[in-house]
Amino acid sequence: MYGIFMESVVIFKNYVGGRYLIVLFLLALFYLLFAEKNKRRRAMLVYMPISLLLAFFFPITRKAFVRLMGEGDTYYRILWLIPMGIVIAYGGVKLAGSVSGRWEKGGQWAGRLTLVLLAAAVMCGGTYVYASQYMSKAENPYHIPQKVIDICDVIAPEEGEERIWAVFPTDLVYFVRQYDTDIQLLYGREMVEPKWQYAEPVHTVMNHPTTIDIGELLTLTRERNCTYIVLPYNKEVSENPENFGLELLDTIEGYPIYYDPVAAQIIEEKFG
């Protein structure tokens, strides 16, 4: 039980990210515990959050969650139910109002100062979302890398043609099917997320840290009717792909795009 409790503590620490917003929330909760005279609001904005917070750390809750959901990775979502933002904003503004009404002279200025301090505390205690490492300048209205669009436009089938199979480097697989689902992938995101630990032979060859074994890759892709291969820009290849009959269609931002006529021939023979 202690181990499960400690797991919840770690999840909580990861959730609050070592920043001070959580302190602001606890202060607001503490303030409302005494300042909020309406018993219904106290029940909803003080007792309910406290009880959910306690339930979050209670090992049985975590056990029940894992049992019901079949996984524990998303346990942090219980914390979404605690209206931290509402409690901070309500408690802070209520405090500012109370400060403002306390003195006849200068009370309003004290109230304003409280609000400014609250805003400063939020800004200093939090993290600016637009500075996140996951944010970048949008290159197009799709909000996916332009190079993916350019590569897909080279290989995508024409209207009315059969869908095609392709292999992409791991850094691009997330985006291909957000642009065009007529391009099918031999492996997708499920293979490239390390935490899921799936294994897929084509991905294993493509994911080699330095060199891609072209012979092995083509054996696998031709078995699976894959006619287009996009290689990474930053890895060596064991041999020139053109020695195996591949045709270089284009190179976009360093990514070479190959068409495999041998695979196309195999498909023709198999399916007519």
Binding site: L21, A43, M69, I78, A89, L186, E190
Partner: protein, 358 residues
């Protein structure tokens, strides 16, 4: 062409939900009726309706299930919108004028309060500007956004693996959370690629939708001191912008994956549930009619399931926790019973989920 698409967006994302949202207004206490309730209520109803149409189509229609869904959902949405307008006209003809207070009311407002409102709107503008000009990388888009695009382009639902394109047996785990299908539907009706829709257009609806809910919550908490409301809203907006303390917070989800079902559950459905629970329980005297609010709570519970299967479970915990403390505060056991009935959609959803899994 762009103008036609723009009109389509306004029609399906603003006009239709707003007209649908007129349906419960008559059954909501008069002092609580405003445009925000109509808009949020409309979305709760429209998304619930989407679930009611989509799930049978997924389970019963073998080929081109999305095509069937799109036809039925179009018809029923338009019917519901017409019903909303009809009920409003009928109510007005009966002499019971359904007045919607314009909010916020700037007339007679102190300069300081006006400045706070301006500050709040600037913060919203900043969020919308960033939503359009910045791209946010999230691995789940390979599932969520691709699922919408697969639906739009293949006209089937949950029969093709979004990651690769391989065919699969019905994906039960995700198929009950039909938010990607709703996105595909809007894409179909407006002729817009669903990835553009999700990443560049939906934030312009979903971000204001969330703030409308916070507006209702703040309006209720500060109903006797309305001048504090803009400060509350500005702090809420700041909290969203600076709430990225980890990748797990609802604030991070709100501004980095606005369009995903789980983000909508965390930032629209859960706050909307808190708002409705506040309205239902935190009142000074018995209101003449609460039926509309209970109905909206049921719909919020349904919408939770539209966004994500886990949302169904989370909303039950939330409603149960609030109802428990209200029961203690009011010493009325009936509160728990009523709250239990409001969670009926969640129970049905969970049984369906288990039934399909076995």
């Amino acid at each position: 062409m762009i103008i036609v698409k723009g009109i389509g967006l306004i029609f399906w994302l603003l006009i239709v939900p707003s007209c649908i949202g007129l349906i419960p207004v008559r059954w909501i206490p008069e002092e609580k009726r405003n445009a925000g309730v109509v808009f949020t209520g409309g979305y709760l109803m429209m998304l619930s309706l989407c679930w009611l149409v989509t799930v049978p189509c997924i389970l019963l229609v073998k080929y081109y299930s999305f095509r069937t869904m799109a036809v039925w959902f179009t018809a029923l949405s338009l019917l519901a919108a017409a019903l909303g307008v009809g009920i409003t006209v009928w109510t007005c003809r009966q002499g019971k004028w359904v007045s919607l207070r314009p909010e916020p009311d700037f007339s007679g407002m102190a300069l300081e309060v006006k400045i706070e409102w301006i500050l709040f709107f600037l913060l919203i503008f900043w969020q919308l500007y960033k939503a359009f000009t910045l791209a946010s990388f999230d691995g789940d888009d390979a599932e969520f956004v691709a699922q919408s695009l697969v639906t739009q382009q293949s006209e089937t639902m949950y029969l093709i693996k979004p990651y690769t394109g391989g065919t699969t047996s019905l994906d039960i785990r995700h198929s009950l959370a039909v938010m990607p299908v709703w996105v595909a539907f809007i894409g179909r009706r407006t002729g817009i690629h669903t990835t553009i829709l999700a990443h560049s257009i939906l934030p312009f609806v979903l971000i204001p939708l969330t703030y409308t809910v916070y507006y209702e919550i703040g309006g209720h908490l500060f109903k006797k001191k309305r001048e504090y409301l803009p400060a509350f809203m500005a702090v809420m907006a700041l909290l969203q912008i600076f709430g990225n303390v980890s990748i797990f917070t609802n604030e991070t989800f709100f501004l980095t994956r606005t369009w995903q079902g789980k983000a909508v559950a965390a930032n629209f459905v859960i706050p909307a549930t808190i708002w409705l629970l506040l309205w239902i329980f935190d009142r000074e005297e018995e209101a003449e009619t609460q039926a509309g609010l209970w109905a909206l709570l049921c719909l919020a519970n349904m919408t939770a399931g539209v966004c994500t299967s886990m949302g169904t479970f989370l909303n039950v915990i939330l409603v149960a926790a609030v109802a428990f403390w209200m029961m203690v505060a009011e010493r009325k056991f009936s509160i728990l019973v009523k709250a239990g009935f409001a969670c009926a959609p969640n129970v049905i959803y969970m049984f369906l989920y288990l039934f399909l899994h076995v």
